[in-house]
């Protein structure tokens, strides 16, 4: 620690942000994840974020971990400790460090960073690894483990936790345990012998996370699809959704193989493009198998024609849209909530689709499984709309829960014995007056129940018709079905303040973590707000009632054009003045400070100093 520090170093227990700056493709990801998991294992809430380029090797990549004992999981902003392993980005990485913060860098090549307000920790990581390992690949790779080892005494991370994580990680490759432990020790021993420790920032076991797990949203979606009974997955690789299909395959290959025959009770097809991916999923659903596809914004654009067919021909379908930065190719490795409208009204003609908005991996699991019930009940596409932030980052989330008593809702499907009792089967007859008609799977009955599925206008018996009145009736019935949908989709979560006449706040999806924290900041500054977290579209009566009961509502979202606000205005005829748009769309996860500041300024007519 060479530089004389002109500002008092930050002192903080279990509450800080650490950011690792690496070069992608150098093996840093698993070391950084191990660091995050060690803090999680000590029972302290964390929120790790990958900030990565759309590239495989050589470009800068960052991994940021917010450690927060209050359990705020949104992005905080600012950096208290930087672990700078990429000389390309030194300037930016050092500049970001808060006053009083800390910088750890590889001092094999010494630098002067011209910051007299931070503590610089010099560890010659490259030199240490060159001295200890002979293999060139290991020398490069173990630098990462070595800095995690160094952080153990510096931050007081329990060393046994790190050791255990290594032995768990390499349980199937035990030969790798020893060199990894050795690398861990190299960093740790260097600190113990040469540097003062611990830092002013440190961690201490809290055991706050007994019923929590650490998992990404995409993994949770994949698992939810297995629990939801999906047997068919078709997908085309696209960031950030690919790991949904991979998650499905991972869990299905473990829990969906027939114990007697060893055969797969599922199939996952990597399609030639998104058009084929959605087409295959529609084909499987048409035939009575629960099928889904996973994609991101560009994929939704490509799938649109087929989505209109599934809507109009009334074929169940589940689509996961893991949103990324748009428009066009946009920012493939950054997050946004900018496909709300393109999903709500996907495809030409009058179409409307059911959307679900999970806020975290636990809800990804729950909604993923439920989406298959809704799709079959409603015989229509159902979108699970997540984003890169939820999908590709690990989150501290409630344990997954499953009720074995709850049965799948396979919807209105007629079996051969049902058809035997019927004289008049019409695929699109609204027998129950809820807009949902009865369908049959191909191959059900030798004489009855066959029909022709088509995207052309059709009558109640699925026959082609160019009769305008009949087509109008079909389109009107689909609106009725959409009303039925509003009664079946997840309710909004409403949290009213004590104070009458508070302004309302509407938010959804990955904005939630930042919003919960923003609410606390606002409360500390004597501003009360009523919260409504939208969890689905179509909106139900609770949503409309909340809007009706508030004179002013902030709609917070991560897109430029306030798409959720537009959807609310369009669907409910709500006036523009009532809904105040509050948007963040730079591709990074939204921050509580930003939300609190904006609301505070508007509510109190003065600036918020945090």
């Amino acid at each position: 620690m060479e530089n004389p520090v002109k500002v008092d170093p930050i002192n903080s227990l279990n509450d800080f942000v650490i950011k690792f700056a690496n070069v992608n493709g150098t093996g840093s990801a698993s070391a950084n994840q191990m660091f995050a998991k060690s803090i999680f294992r000590m029972g302290i809430p964390i929120s790790p974020k990958n900030i990565f380029p759309s590239n495989i090797q050589g470009l800068p990549t960052w991994f940021e971990v917010r450690v927060n004992n209050k359990g705020y999981l949104g992005s905080r902003g600012g950096v208290d400790i930087a672990v700078a392993m990429n000389p390309q980005t030194y300037t930016q990485d050092v500049e970001e460090i808060s006053e009083g913060g800390y910088l750890l860098y590889d001092s094999t090549w010494k630098r002067n960073f011209n910051r007299d307000d931070i503590t610089v920790i010099e560890i010659p990581l490259t030199q240490l690894c060159v001295d200890s390992f002979t293999n060139a690949k290991q020398r490069a790779l173990f630098k990462n483990i070595a800095y995690v080892g160094a952080l153990s005494p510096l931050l007081e991370i329990e060393y046994e936790v790190l050791e255990k994580l290594i032995s768990e990680q390499f349980v199937s490759k035990p030969a790798l345990i020893e060199p990894n432990i050795k690398a861990l020790n190299i960093g740790r021993d260097y600190v113990l012998k040469n540097l003062p420790y611990p830092l002013g920032i440190n961690v201490k076991r809290e055991d706050k996370l007994k019923d929590k797990i650490l998992v990404s949203g995409n993994d949770a979606c994949g698992l939810g699809a297995v629990y939801g009974g999906a047997t068919f997955c078709s997908w085309y690789p696209i960031t950030p959704s690919t790991s949904v299909a991979e998650g499905f395959e991972k869990y299905a290959s473990k829990y969906r193989v027939d114990p007697q025959t060893g055969k797969n009770n599922y199939i996952s097809v990597q399609a030639e493009d998104e058009l084929a991916a959605v087409g295959m999923a529609i084909g499987a659903n048409w035939n009575g198998a629960r099928g889904f596809t996973a994609t991101s914004g560009p994929g939704i654009s490509l799938m649109s024609e087929f989505l209109g067919l599934a809507y109009f021909a009334e074929v169940p379908l589940v689509i996961f849209n893991i949103q990324r930065g748009g428009p066009s190719t946009g920012m493939p490795t950054r997050t946004q909530q900018s496909d709300i409208l393109s999903c709500a009204y996907a495809s030409h003609g009058d179409t409307k689709h059911v959307l679900l908005f999970p806020e975290d991996p636990q809800e990804c699991f729950e909604f993923s499984a439920e989406a298959f019930n809704l799709a079959e009940r409603l015989q229509t596409p159902v979108f699970v709309i997540s984003d890169l932030d939820i999908g590709m980052n690990d989150w501290v989330t409630d344990k997954f829960d499953w009720d074995d008593e709850q049965k799948y809702d396979r919807g209105k499907v007629l079996k051969a014995e049902d058809l035997d009792k019927m004289d008049n089967f019409g695929r699109y007859l609204d027998v129950d007056d809820d807009g949902i008609c009865y369908r049959t799977y191909p191959g059900t009955h030798p004489e009855k129940g066959a029909f022709f599925t088509r995207g052309t206008s059709h009558d109640e018996y699925a026959r082609y018709t160019e009769n305008g009145d009949i087509n109008e009736q079909t389109l009107t019935r689909l609106v009725k079905k959409f009303r039925t949908a509003s009664e079946l989709v997840p309710d909004p979560i409403i949290n009213l303040s004590e104070k009458q006449g508070s302004s309302g706040v509407i938010f959804y999806g990955s904005t939630s973590a930042a919003m919960y924290e923003a609410k606390d900041i606002l409360n500390e500054n004597n501003i009360e707000v009523d919260l409504m977290r939208i969890r689905s579209f179509p909106f139900n009566l609770d949503v409309w009632e909340f809007i009706e009961n508030h004179d002013l509502i902030y709609v917070i979202e991560q897109n430029r054009d306030s798409q959720m606000r537009t959807l609310i205005m369009a669907e409910g005829g709500i006036s523009a003045e009532k809904l105040r748009s509050l948007v963040w769309f730079n591709g990074d996860p939204i921050q509580a400070k930003f939300i609190a500041k904006k609301i505070y300024e508007r509510e109190s007519q003065q600036a918020l100093i945090t």
Partner: protein, 350 residues
């Protein structure tokens, strides 16, 4: 509009082993132009299904968009049909096939549907060896939009308005052989004797079967300067020789000269017996098949018949190791791992 025929069954109509008559395999009234080749193909499909004693409700008829794609409404009324979007029938077929491989999948497409907008899906369905019969009702023109050239139209051909086609054709049979289609035949809608056994063979074949059927468009592409007109095809068709379908357990009754016929065994044990026009030709050799197609093309001939067959191929569902029980019949207890396993998974994530 869909029109259905009144069902008046003549008591003396021939019945198959299921006790069904040809009328039982019919569909709605065709709204295609009088004389359209596609209607002849529908009639051949009806005949093939009748002769093979197919249970119509165990058939799924799939199509894209175009005149050809309307055709599934005109045969097998007791089957489910799916008229999807332009060029995308192969993906519907792939998904449907994986969900229930017990059905017979008849995909009906056209040259616009398969050689242009849907060429990608066409190729990939072949590559994946989807177990289906894929009909291309090939008329070299876009009929529904009134006569534009399609990608299978020959270079020297003209359209109805006298304009030249400037681009060379895509030959779907050669492409299919190269992509790994395991049953590839070309035929002519006007040659019922050839087409019916080829369809029967394709139905009994396990794997991707392509039937590229030249099917003249009487309204837009049947004029003197068209190479897909009835007259042109009749004058330039070089049939591979007679094709006979021999059901399982029946004797071959055809009488060819020694060495002039070849037998192809199909998955269910039935056989196709092909009269050879060329003693060197071997329909199980993809290289020879491609050579023959190319040679005949150079001579200005359209070679028809069974061009290629690979009866050892593995269909998609086998490649992917799917269970014998169709995926769409699996129940919740077979699908959902349950709460105990979830607790294990939770432990692994904590």
């Amino acid at each position: 509009m869909s029109y259905f025929k009144p069902i008046n069954k003549h008591p003396n109509l021939e019945k198959n082993k299921l006790g069904l008559t040809r009328r039982d395999y019919e569909g709605g009234v065709s709204t295609l132009c009088a004389g359209c080749g596609h209607d002849s193909i529908s009639a051949c499909i009806i005949e093939a299904c009748f002769r093979l004693n197919i249970e119509a409700y165990k058939v799924a008829k799939l199509s894209g968009i175009g005149c050809s794609s309307k055709a599934p409404a005109y045969f097998l009324n007791a089957s489910h049909g799916f008229n999807s979007v332009h060029g995308r029938m192969p993906s519907i077929a792939t998904g449907a096939n994986c969900a229930n491989e017990d059905l017979l999948y008849l995909g009906v497409s056209g040259d616009g549907d398969s050689a242009s907008i849907g060429i990608g899906q066409f190729i990939h369905a072949i590559r994946r060896q989807v177990n289906m019969v894929y009909f291309v009702e090939n008329n070299g023109t876009y009929g529904l939009t009134k006569g534009q050239f399609s990608a299978t139209n020959d270079l020297e051909s003209k359209n109805k308005y006298g304009e030249d086609n400037l681009f060379p054709p895509i030959d779907l049979t050669s492409m299919a052989i190269q992509m790994g289609a395991s049953y590839v035949a070309r035929s002519f809608s006007g040659d019922r004797d050839q087409l019916v056994p080829l369809i029967m063979g394709a139905i009994q074949h396990k794997g991707f079967a392509l039937l590229d059927i030249i099917s003249p468009c009487v309204t837009f592409n049947n004029h003197d300067s068209s190479t897909k007109s009835y007259d042109y095809i009749r004058n330039h068709n070089e049939a591979m020789g007679k094709t006979d379908f021999v059901p399982l357990g029946e004797e071959i009754k055809t009488n060819y000269d020694d060495g002039s016929s070849v037998e192809v065994k199909l998955h269910d044990g039935s056989r196709l017996s092909l009269e050879k026009i060329d003693h060197n030709f071997d329909p199980t050799d993809a290289g020879k098949s491609l050579e023959l197609i190319r040679e005949k093309d150079k001579e200005g001939k359209i070679i028809t018949g069974l061009l290629y067959v690979d009866n050892k191929c593995k269909p998609l569902t086998e490649i992917m190791d799917l269970p014998d029980k169709p995926l769409n019949t699996l129940e919740q207890d077979e699908l959902c791992p349950g709460s105990e396993i979830l607790e294990e998974i939770n432990k692994g994530l904590s």
